[in-house]
């Protein structure tokens, strides 16, 4: 067995031996990914998975390297880019992907992409 295969085996044994935790965080990511435009209910999710909300947040960060909220924002911004590309207005895109305020949408969009949604819209219709 080559060094890389051995290394994969070592990482799997050391870091990924708890399948229940892995299934739980994959389930949470799936829930966020499929419901990003809604107001997410982590209390409901944690009750269904029989895990405390705070433990769930910690687990997600440990396995994905970012918090569920960071992932949600990334997901919403990516989806908003698609909405704008498809011709939706900036404000319609903002609400379609689940943001509740246009100003927080604009600042998060700029933080993630480097340009405002308005500038992004213009760059798509040059």
């Amino acid at each position: 067995m080559k060094r890389y295969q051995k290394e994969l085996q070592r990482i799997k044994e050391n870091c990924y031996s708890n399948q229940w935790q892995i299934d739980t965080v994959i389930g949470l990511r799936n829930y966020i990914s499929n419901n990003f435009s809604e107001k997410l209910n982590l209390n409901l999710f944690s009750r269904v998975r029989l895990v405390s909300k705070y433990h769930l947040l910690r687990l997600f960060k440990r396995y994905y390297g970012q918090t569920p909220n960071q992932y949600l924002i990334d997901k919403r911004v990516e989806e908003a880019k698609l909405c704008i590309q498809n011709g939706l207005s900036v404000s319609d895109s903002c609400y379609a992907v689940g943001f509740e305020s246009l100003s927080s949408f604009s600042s998060l969009f700029k933080k993630k992409t480097g340009i405002t949604p308005r500038a992004y819209q213009k760059s798509n219709f040059r």
């Binding site: 060094r3 990924y16 965080v25």
Partner: protein
């Protein structure tokens, strides 16, 4: 400052272009002769043609350490870089049918699934899928 380019060293640019476009379905973006039979040769992902370019960089013939480094990684099965795919198993099946050889079959690693193949130009390349 922006990241627009990453590179993989290849032992033959023409063969590499063939593999990366015909098997991996990347698209040739820039091709400029730079003398000595070498080219500034980049490819991009079909879905992200404005995205990061991958430079298929010729290994300098007279610079032995580059060859030694690439061969050492290859001999130990270490991937030179990785690409993301939506479905590792599907991509594995597709590439196997095209005769691509894998050193690591589709394997779940925590919240990801990965596999590693030989790019026939001196490198192992990992493909990874984020499970959700």
């Amino acid at each position: 400052m922006k990241i627009k380019l990453v590179s993989v060293p290849v032992d033959n640019q023409e063969k590499a272009l063939d593999f990366y476009t015909q098997k991996l379905n990347f698209i040739k973006k820039i091709d400029i002769p730079v003398g000595g039979g070498n080219r500034w040769l980049t490819v991009v992902a079909m879905e992200e043609q404005d995205g990061v370019e991958l430079l298929l960089e010729p290994i300098p013939i007279e610079f032995e350490p580059a060859k030694v480094y690439q061969k050492a990684l290859f001999d130990e099965g270490l991937p030179y870089t990785q690409f993301n795919v939506d479905d590792v198993q599907k991509e594995y099946d597709r590439l196997i049918n095209l005769g691509v050889e894998f050193s690591v079959k589709p394997t779940e690693m925590g919240t990801t699934k990965l596999a590693v193949f030989d790019d026939t130009c001196g490198n192992y390349i990992q493909i990874v899928e984020i499970l959700e």
